[in-house]
């Protein structure tokens, strides 16, 4: 079977501490932009979250306005993340054709639509991160979204324990694009 493949190498590893109160996805966007990561992955990221906001498939797609659910879970919770990093490319696609914009509070603005694809717009970092969290009631997995907040440290002055390890790849350009016919979602391109 033909499939897209590209061979690269790890250029460098970036260890970063995400501070209490920070939004985890915003921190990853910043780190990716600052270090000019065109292709990379979150090799490891763990710590405690105060709250997680995420996407999952709805229980019943027929009764759900969207093909994907977005909701919050309150912590504290142990969290572990991994994911892939690239760029949201401007391929000429138009977010306005998405049928998502009518959902109040979730898909109202153009930025909301990009954030559903975990980017902040064309030519900005794209972070496709999955997580598992363990709350007092059980384990939940999903697609990490903005609104996931790192918990306070044990005591004021202690460093945050939420550490992420990001591998920056070289020799590969990875990105995502809007599907040209506009319906549905984003597609990865290597």
């Amino acid at each position: 079977m033909n499939r897209a493949q590209a061979i690269g190498a790890i250029d460098e590893l970036i260890f970063a501490r995400v501070q209490p109160g920070e939004d985890l996805i915003e921190a990853l966007w910043e780190i990716a932009a600052k270090n000019d990561i065109k292709a990379g992955w979150v090799m490891e990221g763990s710590g405690i979250l105060k709250r997680v906001t995420f996407q999952r498939f709805p229980h019943n797609a027929k009764t759900c306005g969207l093909f994907i659910d977005v909701y919050n879970l309150e912590g504290p919770m142990l969290c572990n993340i991994t994911g892939i990093i690239g760029t949201m490319r401007d391929s000429g696609g138009d977010t306005s054709v998405y049928p998502l914009a009518y959902v109040k509070g979730v898909m109202e603005t153009e930025m909301d639509r990009f954030e559903m694809g975990t980017s902040q717009g064309f030519n900005t970092p794209y972070i496709h991160n999955h997580f598992d969290v363990m709350t007092k009631d059980g384990c939940v997995m999903g697609h990490l979204m903005r609104g996931s907040i790192v918990a306070e440290a044990n005591s004021p002055g202690d460093p945050s324990e939420f550490t992420v390890v990001i591998a920056k790849a070289k020799g590969i350009d990875f990105g995502t694009e809007l599907r040209p016919n506009g319906f549905g979602h984003f597609i990865h391109q290597i």
Binding site: E12, I14, M43, E44, V133, M134, P159, S160, E161, T163
Partner: protein, 200 residues
């Protein structure tokens, strides 16, 4: 927002094969000690079946639980996926005997936090200053549940050989990182880990 960032490279990648009955966390600590890993990443741990899991998580009701964290064991077999950070425990101004865990004297939990080593291991450190530290989250599943938690000592690789003829084994992939260290340290109210650039 300003945040600490350190850049580094992988010095070497270690593949470690565990056998039936091996304690997974002990194997990670042993590997860290043998290869003098002061900063590392357990990139992957999978490929076998665990006999049981011993995990740490949040209690369902902190008001009725003596400790802020639960530790418990569930019998397997489980498929499991492990990742996490390896560091080294360093000296601090705080002694482990001073660490309050709510109002519960932690030595009163029989079988869980009886000794000083138990206390360190509850925190992810093998046994105190200059011993390895592993901050590991893992997910595990059997036919009925999928769960996650913080890896604790006592989690063992299953022996399926005698039951179903499958060779026992569990493989860890560990990246040793150069130029930085992860320092696990006691603070006044608990444990934390810190990123430190290694002195040349």
């Amino acid at each position: 927002m300003p945040r600490l960032e350190l850049k580094s490279k992988i010095e070497k990648v270690l593949y470690v094969k565990l056998k039936a009955g091996d304690d997974v966390l002990q194997a990670i600590w042993d590997t860290a000690k043998k290869y003098n890993i002061k900063a590392g990443v357990v990139v992957q741990g999978s490929g076998g079946v665990l006999k049981n899991v011993v995990v740490k998580g949040f209690p369902r009701n902190p008001l009725t639980c003596q400790l802020p964290l639960d530790a418990y064991e569930i019998e397997g077999p489980f498929m499991a996926d492990i990742r996490g950070l390896i560091g080294v425990t360093v000296k601090s101004d705080v002694d482990i005997s001073e660490i309050p865990l709510r109002n519960a004297p932690i030595t009163k939990e029989p079988g869980l936090l009886e000794t000083e080593i138990d206390k360190w291991q509850m925190l992810g450190s093998q046994g105190g200053v200059n011993t390895p530290y592993f901050h590991g989250a893992f997910t595990y599943a059997n036919g009925h549940i999928s769960h996650a938690g913080f890896l604790m000592p006592g989690t063992q690789v299953a022996d399926l050989d005698s039951d179903v003829g499958i060779p026992a084994g569990y493989t860890l992939v560990i990246a040793k990182i150069k130029d930085i260290e992860i320092h696990a340290k006691l603070g006044k109210k608990g444990f934390y880990h810190d990123l430190v650039a290694k002195q040349q």
